[in-house]
């Protein structure tokens, strides 16, 4: 009793002592608590993340009754198939359903929308048995055809449908109408859903539109009008209790699959027979219809031909008639024209005659006028002359008569002269007369002479007398002549007068004649004018008649042309009709032939058995979770190690501080175990509380962060973060064991010492020279404070090691975090930027017709949008490994191996040395080579789908990150496989990748016959980008955790450093070191340690990164193995920043160190 109570009392005192200790040394307790909480939290959190993710997924799948299988068949399913499946063992539920891929036109884009039929009615009745239960997010489920529920397409299409929206779908195939499949193509959105079938943004491929399903909608099952089911969902018996990602589930499913495939083969034969029969009947019907059609066509064509021929004859007659009429017309025209021309000629002749008459007349008139004028002048002249002559005559006569009167007669004178005095009076008179004469005419000088002679009769002599007488005689003869001349003059005058008169008469006659001619001319003019008028009249009449006749001919021509055109139209119509009906018949014939051929070639339908791993995103999610698990295997262990180290230093220090007390206890008679238990309890209280807090927070926090990071990629329910007792127990146990061991280790030495020595203060650790001091040339160059620093560094080796390890760990973790990001980014970056250059892959049928091939080539090889394209052979192979696991492998055979590098770069990862395909060996991708542990020169064996094996020699290992590939030359292919490669894919580089043009091209290609699928590289790259994005959160978790780790470790160590050296610090403070100098004195060591730790951490980080990358990789993906220099930089800078932060905190701690307290005498 006493003993027990004493023990109890002792235990109480002991407990009190422990708790007081805890209270007194809060910061030490806290540091153990924190590091344990951190370590355990991280360990448990990361470890739980993978099971949490899988649990979340599995719970979601279970709640939504996700089917275990989806069956699709190349020819659909019948009720017989469904019944057969229902009778199968291990199958719990068989749900036949319908789906069809359609095209939704949106903002000029056509999006491929998968329409899924769903039995909403039975969902309402019995949700327990509804398979693939959609989660209703908003609105309600459809109740009638024409209603649909949609998924949230914001991320997928960039558009969100609203409830009440109308959407119209199209079949996406030219020759097909959607109403053949669906009872309506118009749907009203009544709700928003998510489907457990689609947990990622992947929606699968399609044979319409761009070849990629963009979104799904769900409609009531009876919207589908097809006579067979297009898919069947199965739920297996007894697997719902198993986790979807567990081995057990996998095994159960793997066991069931062969049976399903077997059934599929059996049912397919039956189905084929059904189809054959049905098709044969249909073909027979079609044949008959076609034959009828041909007969009808023949008859109709013949009738039409006859009609056309008649019309043609009629037209020919009409044409002849017209030709005759036209000839006649021309003849009559010619006659009339001749007559008119004659008349005109006549008239013209008359006119000419008239003209010449007129001219003659005019000439005559002019001549007459001239003559007349001349004659009149002559008349006048003649009259004047006549008058003049008359006057002259009269004057001559008068003169003559005077003379005569005066000139004495010859006898008288002769009488006087003979008797000169005979008659004196008579002589005197004679003399007077003679004088008068001479006076009258002086030329009659003779008279004077004679007068004078006579007057002197005395002188008279006979000779003289004779003379005078002879003179007188000559005068008297002359006078006689004159007299006769006068008489003749008169006669002549008379004659002239008569002549003039005659001329005048003649002139008058000419004038009269002229006038007569003019009158005649006038008359001729009138006659001519009348003739012209008549001609004009005739001509006008003729013109009118001519035009009338021509118009008639034209009309007739038009009529004929119309008739001809009509005939041509009829002819064309006939041809067209004939061509059309021929085409129709040919089409029908072709269709029929095709149908016959198809039927002949009809292959046994194939069942595709898809289990959950084939559901989009399902496997990815599991792999993502596994990746986290792989990380969880490495990092937390590291944390625990650091925690243990921190714990060790802390507890060592504690034991040192408690040294005297330990001695006292020992002196009091406590056993070592009891004393040790104090430390143990102290540490374990910190450990257990720390662990519990760490577990509680870690198991919630880490999985939530990680799940939410992946939430970007997956659509599921909220994260489930149950408290995993197993993980908790393991964490706690590990923590407790680690801490216990460290505690016992740290107090081992002290407990072994005798109490007396324990009671004495432990001699301060003696100063020691360090190795560096022996190297004088370095040591002497160091400043005093640096010497001190180095001395101190080597003095506290354990702490130095701890600090280096802690910081190295921190930096290693961060580098791993950053490096992991680099590695994952490298997949997308290197794979799709450096290794794969093609933007588009077009998968073709093996048995491509020349026509189909030409069409594909037109789009891919002769398209300006396509920069280059090459043909390749792609084939799926299996690569069995020694471990028994076999890997899927793609065989790639470029048609022209020299062109391969335009699409795919083959190179070694280290050194980037280009590899080229040669006949000598195939080129294998790196990851596959790693799996097999083979290198260039080795021989590997691949198997094809028929389990035939082929051996090939590896010529090189190429850098590659996604999936496994084997490249070989066509010759090598032929050698290995014994046949020429059929090129079934085309890889293309586009001039404007990723644009609208690319989508357009993809759509154009997928619509072509013979094109099985089109995939664009950017989509795949985007998926990786999303993965990278989610990795940033994981990286952030790592970095923050590493930072916390660094902080706790550094803080703890600095703390210990300060307490351990408190007197030294106080001393230098007393000596007058400024705060800054004090901090520098202490922290110079920390800085050096931090740098050393950071450098060590880089090395460690590279190893850790390599390990994590290898573990985190899935079978199909190789991560990048290179860490970018920026990652080294960032992690180191962050690490140093953390250690700087700790120093900053510690600076204030140092500032607060009290000299007086610290220097108080040693206890």
């Amino acid at each position: 009793m006493v003993k027990r109570s004493a023990r109890k009392k002792g235990a109480n005192a002991f407990a009190k002592d422990v708790f007081r200790e805890i209270f007194k040394t809060k910061s030490r307790f806290l540091s153990i608590f924190l590091i344990v909480a951190l370590g355990v939290g991280f360990f448990a959190g990361l470890t739980a993340a993978c099971p949490d993710m899988k649990l979340t997924a599995d719970t979601y799948f279970d709640q939504q009754n996700l089917s275990d299988y989806r069956l699709v068949s190349s020819m659909g399913f019948t009720d017989g198939d469904v019944q057969a499946l229902q009778q199968m063992e291990g199958i719990r539920q068989v749900v036949p359903s319908y789906w069809v891929d359609t095209v939704l036109e949106m903002d000029g884009d056509s999006e491929v929308v998968k329409v899924m039929g769903y039995d909403f009615a039975s969902l309402e009745e019995d949700p327990q048995n509804a398979v693939n239960l959609p989660v209703l997010l908003e609105g309600r489920f459809p109740q009638a055809p024409g209603e649909c529920v949609v998924e949230d397409t914001e991320e997928i299409l960039g558009v969100t449908f609203q409830i009440g929206d109308q959407i119209t779908l199209a079949s996406g195939k030219e020759e097909e109408d959607l109403t053949e499949t669906l009872s309506t193509d118009q749907f009203t959105v009544v709700g928003m859903v998510q489907s457990p079938l689609y947990i990622s943004i992947e929606r699968g491929t399609s044979t319409v539109g761009s070849g990629k399903v963009n979104a799904f909608i769900m409609v009531p099952e009876d919207t589908f009008v097809g006579d067979y089911y297009t898919e069947i969902f199965l739920r297996a018996e007894g697997v719902e209790v198993l986790s979807s990602y567990s081995q057990e589930y996998r095994q159960r499913i793997d066991a069931l699959t062969p049976a399903l495939e077997q059934l599929g083969e059996e049912r397919s034969v039956i189905r084929l027979e059904e189809i054959r029969q049905e098709a044969n009947e249909e073909i027979a019907d079609a044949q008959k219809e076609l034959d009828d059609g041909i007969a009808t066509q023949q008859q109709e064509l013949a009738d039409a031909r006859q009609e056309l021929d008649d019309a043609r004859q009629e037209l020919a007659d009409g044409e002849q008639e017209l030709a005759d009429a036209t000839q006649e017309y021309y003849d009559s025209i010619a006659d009339a024209e001749q007559q008119l021309a004659d008349a005109r000629q006549q008239l013209n002749d008359g006119e000419a005659e008239y003209e010449s008459g007129l001219r003659e007349y005019e000439i005559g008139e002019r001549t007459f006028e001239r003559e007349k004028k001349k004659a009149l002048e002559e008349f006048q002249k003649a009259e004047t002359l006549i008058a003049q002559q008359e006057q002259e005559l009269q004057e001559g006569q008068a003169l003559f008569e005077q003379m005569r009167a005066l000139v004495p007669g010859n006898e008288e004178v002769a009488a006087v002269l003979e008797d000169p005095q005979g008659d004196p009076a008579g002589t005197a008179q004679m003399i007077a007369r003679l004088n008068a004469l001479s006076q009258a005419d002086s030329s009659q000088s003779w008279a004077e002479d004679l007068a004078a002679y006579l007057s002197d009769p005395a002188g008279m002599t006979p000779a003289q007398n004779a003379y005078h007488l002879a003179v007188l005689q000559s005068v008297n003869t002359e006078l006689d002549e004159q007299e006769s001349q006068i008489e003749t003059g008169w006669e002549e005058l008379e004659k002239g007068k008569q002549q003039l008169e005659e001329g005048k008469q003649e002139l008058a006659a000419g004038e009269s004649q002229l006038n007569d001619a003019f009158a005649e001319l006038q008359k001729a003019r009138r006659t001519l004018d009348d003739g012209w008028a008549e001609l004009e009249q005739n001509e006008q009449t003729f013109q009118e008649e001519k035009e009338d006749g021509w118009q008639k001919i034209l009309d007739a021509q038009q009529e004929l042309a119309d008739g001809r055109k009509e005939l041509e139209d009829g002819e064309r119509e006939y041809e067209e009709g004939k061509a059309e009906s021929d085409q129709e018949i040919a089409d029908a014939q072709k269709e029929l032939d095709q149908a016959k051929q198809d039927l002949a070639q009809l292959e046994t339908p194939e069942w595709y058995v898809q289990d959950r791993t084939d559901y989009p995103g399902h496997t990815d999610f599991g792999e993502d979770a596994d990746r986290i698990a792989a990380i969880a295997r490495v990092f937390p262990a590291f944390f625990l190690l650091v925690a243990a180290l921190v714990c060790l230093t802390t507890m060592t220090r504690m034991v040192e501080e408690e040294r005297v007390q330990v001695g006292t206890f020992k002196a009091l008679g406590y056993r070592s175990g009891a004393i040790a238990s104090k430390f143990l309890v102290y540490a374990l209280v910190a450990t257990v509380t720390g662990s519990l807090v760490g577990l509680a927070l870690g198991m919630y926090l880490f999985p939530t962060i990680i799940y939410n990071a992946y939430g970007i990629l997956y659509t599921m329910s909220d994260a489930r973060t149950p408290f995993w007792l197993g993980i908790a127990a393991v964490s706690l146990t590990v923590a407790i064991i680690t801490v216990s061991v460290t505690v016992l280790f740290s107090c081992w030495h002290e407990l072994a010492e005798p109490p007396a020595s324990l009671m004495r203060p432990k001699a301060p650790k003696a100063g020691k020279r360090v190795l560096l001091e022996r190297i004088g040339w370095i040591w002497n160059r160091l400043s005093f404070s640096h010497k001190v620093t180095f001395r101190n560094l080597f003095r506290y080796k354990k702490r130095m090691l701890m600090t280096v390890v802690g910081i190295a760990g921190c930096n290693a973790l961060m580098l791993t975090g950053f490096g992991l990001y680099d590695s994952i980014r490298d997949i997308a970056r290197i794979q799709f930027e450096e290794l794969h250059h093609y933007d588009l892959t077009t998968v073709l049928q093996d048995d491509l017709t020349a026509q189909e091939k030409a069409e594909v080539e037109a789009s891919l090889f002769q398209n300006p949008q396509v920069e280059s394209s090459i043909y390749l052979r792609q084939e799926s192979l299996e690569l069995p490994s020694e471990s028994g696991k076999s890997y899927d492998l793609y065989l790639i055979v470029p048609q022209d191996p020299s062109q391969l590098d335009t699409m795919i770069t083959l190179r070694t990862r280290n050194g980037h040395e280009p590899l080229s395909l040669s006949q000598a060996g195939v080129i294998l991708t790196e990851k596959a080579a790693d799996f097999l542990g083979v290198e260039a020169g080795d021989t590997i064996t691949v198997t094809d789908s028929d389990h035939r094996s082929y051996s090939v020699v590896i010529g090189g290992i190429t850098e590659h990150y996604t999936s496994h590939y084997l490249y070989m030359t066509p010759q090598a292919y032929e050698e290995s496989f014994g046949q020429e490669p059929v090129y079934n894919i085309v890889q293309s580089i586009l001039s404007d990748p990723g644009g609208e043009a690319q989508e357009q091209l993809a759509r154009e290609l997928i619509a072509k016959d013979g094109v099985l699928a089109v995939s664009d590289t950017s989509t795949i790259k985007d998926q990786f980008d999303d993965m990278i994005h989610s990795m940033t959160y994981v990286m952030l978790v790592l970095i923050v955790s590493a930072g916390l780790l660094a902080f706790v470790v550094l803080y703890n160590l600095s703390n210990i450093n300060i307490t351990e050296r408190i007197r030294e610090i106080a001393t230098i403070k007393v000596l007058g070191f400024y705060d800054r100098e004090v901090s520098a004195y202490i922290f110079r060591e920390n800085v050096i340690l931090a740098v050393m730790g950071a450098l060590a951490g880089l090395g460690l980080g590279v190893l850790l990164h390599h390990y994590v990358v290898i573990t985190a990789e899935t079978d199909l993906v190789m991560f990048g193995r290179t860490i970018q220099w920026t990652s080294y930089l960032y992690s180191t800078l962050l690490t140093l920043a953390f250690s700087f932060l700790v120093n900053l905190v510690m600076h204030f701690r140092l500032k607060a160190v009290s000299m007086v307290e610290s220097l108080k005498s040693i206890e």
Partner: protein, 234 residues
């Protein structure tokens, strides 16, 4: 001649929860420049408190402390550090040498922060440690360690050398030699030296004797019959 050190009504109180402990309750004294002063009193008399305040390691609650015309009780923390750095030399009972530094380095620790220090080797020679300058404290005896501590204090050429029970951890003879060293230093360099001790036997060697009891100065006297250290026995 005004006093080199002058304390006027210096009060130091510590609050510990509800209890207020008075460590110095109105202390007044003056010390002349170049004097060797001994402050003597039993444990808990407030000697160390006064020394700490005088050395700038602690501050007084009330009153004024004037050293060489400067009122150090009004200095900012930073000014106090400078004060310690340039004006004060400290010698402790437990030497407080930095274990990781040799004798010479311990002296250098002080001299390197001082503008006009005495050369470390020289001062160590003066304190009689020339042969041990490269030894670590652990390799030295207590007396030798204390000599290093004194050398470290003197290397800065302080105006005031404050010694807190410098012989407390030493044996009789060693203690005597240390006291002699201090006295000689005072005489030779003219440094004002204040020694705290609970041993009143030491008082005859001092120029000035201040007796403390119960946080107050009991008496202060100038010693006219100075006895050399060698002659003192205790």
């Amino acid at each position: 001649m005004s006093a080199f050190v002058s304390l006027n009504n210096v009060v130091k109180e510590y609050r510990m929860g509800e209890v207020t402990i008075t460590a110095a309750g109105g202390v007044n004294f003056e010390i002349e420049k170049g004097e060797f002063c001994v402050i003597v009193g039993p444990s808990g008399a407030g000697k160390t408190t006064i020394l700490n305040i005088l050395g700038g390691m602690d501050s007084c609650t009330r009153g004024s402390v004037i050293v060489d015309g400067r009122e150090i009780s009004r200095l900012t923390p930073k000014e106090l550090i400078s004060y310690r750095r340039y004006d004060i030399g400290f010698v402790f009972q437990f030497y407080n040498l930095v274990q990781n530094l040799t004798a010479k380095e311990n002296v250098e620790l002080a001299s390197q922060i001082c503008p006009n220090p005495i050369d470390a080797t020289q001062i160590l020679e003066e304190v009689g440690l020339i042969g041990r300058i490269n030894n670590f404290p652990a390799q030295l005896s207590g007396g030798e360690q204390q000599r290093v501590a004194i050398a470290r204090a003197l290397a800065k050429r302080p105006k005031l050398l404050l010694c807190d029970e410098p012989t407390g951890a030493l044996d009789y003879l060693t203690g005597k030699s240390i006291l002699k060293l201090l006295q000689d230093t005072c005489r030779k360099s003219g440094t004002t030296v204040i020694v705290i001790t609970h041993n009143s036997a030491l008082t005859p060697m001092a120029d000035r004797i201040i007796r403390m009891k119960n946080a107050r100065v009991e008496s202060m006297e100038k010693n006219i019959h100075i006895v050399p250290v060698e002659a003192i026995e205790w």
